[in-house]
Amino acid sequence: MQKIGVFVCWCGSNIAATVDVKAVAEALKSEAGVVFSTDYQYMCSENGQAMIRQAIREHGLTGIVVCSCSPRMHEATFRKTAVSAGLNPYMVEIANIREQCSWIHKDMAEGTEKAIVLARAAVAKLHKNAPLTAGTSPVTKRALVIGGGIAGIQTALDVADAGFEVDIVEKAPTIGGRMAQLDKTFPTLDCSACILTPKMVEAAQHEKINIISYAELDSLSGFVGNFTATIRKKARYIDEDKCTGCGVCTEKCPSRKGLDDFNMKLNKRGAVYIPFAQAIPNVAVIDPEQCLKLRTGKCGLCQKVCSAKAVNFEQKDELIERQYGAIVVATGFKPIDASAFNEYAYNDSPDVVTSLEFERIMNAAGPTKGQLVRPSDREHPHEIVFIQCVGSRCTEDAEKGKPYCSKICCMYTAKHAMLVREKYPDVNVHVFYIDARTPGKNFDEFYRRAVEQYGVDYIKGMVGKVSVEGKKLHVQGSDLLNGEQVHINADMVVLATAIEPDPTARALGTMLTASMDTNDFFTEAHPKLRPVESPTAGVFLSGVAQGPKDIPETVAQAGAAAAKVIGLLCKNELTCNACVAHANEAACNGCSQCERVCPYGAISYEEREIRSPEFRGVRRIAVVNEAVCQGCGACTVTCPSAAMDLKGFTNSQIMSEVDAICR
């Protein structure tokens, strides 16, 4: 039998104005197990806490009920109070008689009556409480960064600079990501490669950073501080250690049918290729879909010309298993497929391009060596129409577009328009827009410069249709400001397509048990206060994987994620959640249902020797990893034999509360 103390707080007049606190304290004296009951003006004050401490010692209390404000406010406070008087912190229950009683009721009698019931429920629960001790688990001092774009690179550099080992897993043959494909960056118009490639090199040369390119996460187990990842390093058919990146093989390869992904498939490349000149690692890769040797067994020319003897057609996927303490998701984005937008004739004319394709066209290392020409006939265009919000802020057709604003399109379109006008003043540039969104440092100035200084023709309104008319693209749109239809015979149309999370994100989210929103962006633990953490402990978010953002924001978030990772890896051990699930092995069937609903993979099974009235022998039993369990309780309800229970919120605790409330 517990010896329970009840402490009723006035909270000044917050509680005392609508709850007769003395009556509550008095009523609780007749509850079974209550040996002490009192009231005080401010229980959370130093005097109030001292009163609690004294009562615990004087009356030998085994648990306390504090009738006060929400436990979300002061549960932690009173737990500390209890600990300082020698009680286990989980022998404290709070009856919320402020937010859920005094503040919502006006009638004193009613408020008092309800407060008594709430206090009784807390006492009833406390009778079933047991002291809980949180466990600890060690921390593996290595981080895994998934994605080697600017977000992943920046996080990896910051973590590595703090002295921790970092592995970057990149699914492409090179790190660099989307930023490597960009020509210039807004609002400064500096060359993207010029600022990115030094960072790539720095990462490659950092003694604490290990780049695993052309690789993906295959499976993951474990929990915060103790993840075990299996990484699948795809067969490159080139020995990374031997290849010097000389590029001879790429020139000799007779296959010329492969599309160049780096150049947004605007040109062809050989079956063996190096993605781009500054690729890291600067190593060739063979595309097995295109390689004649791998498909038909005939050819092998690259192998013959490779003086480093790096070509290896026998190479297989390799599985690497490593331990990590923290995982950073930096999987980035891709532009949505524009082929769904045939009202803009994307499928009908090669001269309708997406912005990222346009970016490659404008780039000196791109398919046209930086010459602005029409993809169809390589002729210089004179009229270019940019269409914004293609697939962004699209609420009516979920199949086609995205409900959110992709955030970067207004600015990069202004950049494209400005670059075109600067380089080719003879080209007329029109931009159809819904809103020009420019809330960033120097952003609005940049946009105004495009309009005022470079004479870009901004038309507020959307394009209804683009049709191919001979060599021209007939653009029909509306000008909302002038209230008229606009017809432009353009040479090129550029679509500012929405961006969406990389298609690998969904599977990764499942593997990490990290939650995602309906658009497949990873969800942050708190939208305001924990923006770079996933709700899954030990998983952090960096870059567009979490939501659309531009480069400076990405880099800032990457640094923030790194700070969180460092904060975690600094610790030698972690304190676990004390309110965890626990399987009563005498009742567990080992049926595996709990495992299926556990969002954290915290449940595994063991063969155990059981001696109970119902069973003697070896049986499969569920075992909860207390370091992983977050205490949601999904397993407890799935368990048909109620073998699984949740400490701190046990079946009997909750039922006791129910009984007391309904009494």
Binding site: S30, A32, P613, E614
Partner: protein, 339 residues
């Protein structure tokens, strides 16, 4: 002197009884026939030989309050449950169930007497009914029970148009005092035809040799229990339909305002039967299964002048989900003793 009642007057007769006493009889509810409160609206089913549950519930109900501990703050008031003080009539009991009351009496009326049971026995009048059409699952004859001559306070025989009564006690006689007298010989034909069938019953000649008390150890250690008990589900169907099973558990129900202590039927087939702090002393279904039949066929007779705690009503034969019943046990373990 016997009494008789034309069958068409039976409803009026029953109504007459029910006006002053509680009347319990085999009535149909939800497609099943059980002993239950008779009212004018009830569907009386005297044609059904075996009610699902036996008649024992009239004296030993499945659930029965014993005491109530009422909480007032930290004070506890104790209110013992009251014993029955009103008379009732239990109508249409067959010979087997009638015998079962004698067996239950040996348990509940021996020292210390069970006051709840004793009160019900004292206030109850048992009206039995001869078994016109015995069934293939009946084996009462093995226990010296005569379906043609049932016991009880008042015995009854039914022909096509008439109900005949023979009072065996004053309580019984009082019930039929107002009916017309008749000659004892009027039921002879009915009795003869019943006995003719009873003799033809496939299970009428079970060999019970080997179940006497002095064979206790041999029966207990018989290795065939293992095989016999294999199919047993450990449910309580046999126990709860059985007229002679008398085990109960005492449970507390916390109503929030106090504790209601009640007793309820228990079954030795259940895994938590007589569960104790150390666990259970019958850890497998073999032991539980053995217990039930050892009790009926060996322990009870050895403590009760050789009387078996089975009346051969055959309910368990019809109801066991696995067809794994006392006749299997008797035949498997009993016959071999002869050889």
């Amino acid at each position: 002197m016997m009494k008789k009642l034309p069958l068409e007057q039976l409803p009026a007769f029953l109504k007459g009884i029910s006006e002053t006493k509680t009347l319990v009889a085999p009535v149909e509810k939800g497609g099943q026939v059980n002993f239950d409160l008779w009212t004018e609206d009830s569907t009386l089913r005297l044609d059904v030989l075996k009610t699902v549950k036996s008649a024992k519930g009239a004296f030993f109900p499945q659930v029965e309050d014993i005491v109530h501990f009422q909480m007032q703050g930290k004070n506890i008031d104790i209110h013992p449950a009251e014993v029955l003080t009103e008379d009732f009539v239990l109508f249409g009991v067959r010979a087997c169930d009638a015998r079962s009351f004698e067996l239950l009496d040996r348990v509940f009326l021996s020292d210390p007497t069970d006051p709840f049971y004793a009160a019900r026995r004292a206030h109850g009048t048992v009206v039995t009914l001869a078994c016109n059409r015995p069934e293939e699952t009946c084996f009462c004859t093995n226990f010296g029970i005569d379906g043609a001559d049932p016991a009880g306070d008042l015995s009854a025989w039914m022909t096509e148009d008439t109900l005949y009564f023979q009072a065996n006690t004053e309580k019984g006689a009082a019930l039929v005092a107002g009916l017309a007298d008749c000659d004892d010989g009027e039921i002879t034909e009915t009795q003869n035809s019943i006995r003719e069938i009873l003799n033809k019953l496939p299970l009428s000649n079970l060999n019970l040799t080997g179940f006497e008390g002095d064979h206790l150890k041999e029966r207990f250690d018989d290795p065939r229990w293992e095989e016999l008990s294999r199919g047993c589900l450990g449910c309580g169907t046999c126990t709860f339909v059985c007229p002679t099973c008398q085990c109960y558990d005492v449970k507390d129900f916390d109503s929030g305002n106090g504790i209601r202590r009640f007793r309820c039927w228990d079954s030795c087939m259940f895994s938590d039967f007589t569960l104790m702090a150390h666990g259970t002393n019958r850890p497998t279904q073999k032991e539980r299964f053995r217990q039930r039949f050892m009790h009926k066929l060996v322990y009870f007779p050895s403590n009760n002048d050789g009387i078996y705690s089975c009346v051969g009503c055959g309910r368990c034969l019809e109801k066991c989900p696995q067809s794994n019943h006392i006749v299997n046990v008797i035949k498997t373990l009993g016959v071999k003793e002869d050889a």
